[in-house]
C-alpha cells in the first residue's frame, strides 16, 4: 500500500495486529475504538463528502455507531473490515438519498465552496497548474476527479482511489459484477482524459 492514506492501515496491522484492535473495540475499550476511528475515518469521510458534502459528517457518525453495534459479530481480516465499513456507508448513503428524493430538497454546502475557494497555502513549483493542484486539499482534488463522472462511475472511482479496493471488492460493495465495475472505471478514465485534455488545450 503505497498510498499515504492507506499507510495508516498498514501501521495498525504492523503494530499490534488488526485482530487485537477489533477485539478491544468489540469489548468497548476506548483505545480500540479510537484506533479504528483514526485509521478509517479520513477515507470514510472523503468518500462520503464526495458523494454528499452536506450530510457527510452526520452520515459518518451514523456509520460508526452502526459499526460499533455490530462489531461483536464481525469475523474477518482488515480488508474484510474495510469492505464492511464501506458497505455500511454506501447503504446509509442510499437510504439518505431516498429520503432526500421524497423531500425534494437540494441544499448547497457552504463548506464545500469554502474548501474550493480557499485552499491552504502550501509550497509548490513554478508551474501555475501544478501549484493550483498542489494547493488543493485532498477533498477538493477528489471532488475535481469525480466532478464530471456519472454517479456509478464516481462510486467506483472513489472506492478504488480512496478505500483502495480492487475490482472484485468494489464489485461486491456495489453489488455489481467485476466486469461491470471494470467498464465503469474504463469509462470514468475516458471521461477524465477528455475533460483534462480540454482543460490543457484551453490553457
Amino acid at each position: 500500500m503505497a498510498a499515504p492514506l492507506l499507510s495508516a492501515v498498514a501501521d495498525i496491522i504492523d503494530e499490534g495486529g488488526f485482530a487485537a484492535v477489533v477485539a478491544a473495540a468489540g469489548r468497548g475499550e476506548h483505545s480500540g475504538l479510537t484506533d479504528l476511528f483514526r485509521v478509517y475515518q479520513p477515507m470514510l469521510l472523503r468518500y462520503l463528502r464526495a458523494r454528499d458534502p452536506v450530510l457527510a459528517d452526520d452520515l459518518a457518525s451514523e456509520v460508526w455507531v452502526a459499526v460499533a453495534r455490530r462489531l461483536g459479530g464481525f469475523v474477518g481480516d482488515e480488508r474484510g473490515f474495510r469492505s464492511w465499513l464501506f458497505t455500511i456507508a454506501r447503504c446509509r448513503l442510499i437510504e439518505h438519498r431516498r429520503k432526500l428524493a421524497r423531500r425534494r430538497t437540494d441544499p448547497v454546502s457552504h463548506d464545500r465552496l469554502d474548501r474550493l475557494e480557499r485552499p491552504p497555502a502550501q509550497s509548490g513549483g513554478d508551474d501555475p497548474a501544478v501549484l493550483l493542484v498542489e494547493r488543493m486539499t485532498a477533498q477538493a482534488a477528489l471532488d475535481a476527479v469525480v466532478a464530471d463522472l456519472t454517479s456509478d462511475q464516481a462510486e467506483a472511482v472513489l472506492l478504488r482511489v480512496i478505500a483502495g479496493f480492487d475490482v472484485g471488492e468494489t464489485a461486491r460493495i456495489m453489488r455489481r459484477s467485476p466486469g461491470s465495475v471494470r467498464v465503469l472505471c474504463h469509462r470514468a478514465l475516458r471521461q477524465l482524459a477528455m475533460s483534462l485534455t480540454q482543460e490543457v488545450g484551453a490553457e
Partner: protein, 230 residues
C-alpha cells in the same frame, strides 16, 4: 488521422496497462500524455494523509460508539428467560389493548347489541335544559304546586276566590285539606261529582284502601264514613 483518433488510440493503449495503477495512485507518468500526469497528480493529492479537521469529531464519535457498544453487549448478555418474559409481557399488553379497544369500539357503534346476548344499549342520559326566558323562570314554581290549574272560586257572598281542596255538602264539617298537589278542580256550582266522572273522580280515592276505590265517602284519606261518630 484526426487529433481525436490519436486521443482514443492513445487511451486504449494506456488504459489496459495503467488502469489499476491510476486508481491506486502509483502510476509513473514519465512518458504519458499530459492528461495522465494531471490525473495522477489529482489522485495523489486526494490520497494525502488525514487532516485535523477530518478527525475533529473523534471524541464525540468514539463516545457514541462506546455507548452503542455497551448497549449491544447488554442486549447480548440478557438471558433467554428474561427475553421470553419480556416478549410475554409485551404480547399480553398488546392483546389487552386490542380487546379493550374492540369492546369500546363495539359499544360506541352499537354493534355489541347485535353480537352480545343480553346486551342493551344504555338509556340516553336526560339532559335538563335550563330555562331560557323570564317566562319559564316565573312559571316553573307555579307548575310545581299546580295552582295554575285552580280557577278562581268565588263564594256565594262574592268573597274573593279561595283555593279549596275539597267541597263538601252543606252542613258537613270542613275536612282536613289534603296534601299539596292533590287538589283538584271543583266546579263553581259546588256539586259533588259522582265517582268516576269528571275531574274530581280521584278525589278521596285511597289507593292504599281498595275498599274505598271509586266510592266517595266525603272524607279525606283514611277517614271513612261510619268509622267516626259525626
Amino acid at each position: 488521422m484526426t487529433p481525436s483518433d490519436d486521443f482514443w488510440r492513445e487511451l486504449s493503449r494506456i488504459e489496459p496497462r495503467y488502469g489499476d495503477l491510476f486508481w491506486e495512485g502509483t502510476i509513473d507518468v514519465g512518458e504519458s500524455p499530459g492528461w495522465c500526469e494531471e490525473l495522477a497528480r489529482l489522485i495523489r493529492v486526494a490520497q494525502q494523509p488525514a487532516t485535523p479537521d477530518e478527525l475533529a469529531s473523534e471524541e464525540a464519535t468514539v463516545a457514541a460508539m462506546a455507548e452503542a457498544r455497551g448497549t449491544a453487549r447488554v442486549r447480548l448478555e440478557r438471558s433467554p428467560a428474561q427475553s421470553l418474559g419480556r416478549v410475554a409481557v409485551v404480547k399480553g399488553a398488546v392483546l389487552f389493548g386490542v380487546l379493550a379497544g374492540g369492546v369500546a369500539a363495539a359499544a360506541s357503534t352499537g354493534i355489541a347489541g347485535d353480537v352480545v346476548p343480553g346486551w342493551s344499549e344504555p338509556p340516553a342520559p336526560q339532559v335538563e335544559t335550563p330555562p331560557t326566558t323570564i317566562a319559564d323562570i316565573v312559571e316553573e314554581p307555579v307548575t310545581e304546586t299546580g295552582a295554575e290549574e285552580r280557577p278562581s272560586t268565588s263564594g256565594e257572598d262574592g268573597s274573593p276566590a279561595v283555593v279549596v281542596d275539597e267541597v263538601l255538602p252543606a252542613g258537613e264539617d270542613t275536612p282536613v285539606p289534603g296534601p299539596v298537589g292533590e287538589a283538584e278542580v271543583v266546579p263553581e256550582s259546588g256539586e259533588v261529582p259522582e265517582s268516576g266522572d269528571g275531574p274530581g273522580h280521584a278525589y278521596g280515592q285511597d289507593k292504599e284502601h281498595p275498599s274505598s276505590a271509586g266510592r266517595y265517602d266525603g272524607f279525606p284519606h283514611g277517614h271513612r264514613s261510619g268509622d267516626d261518630e259525626l
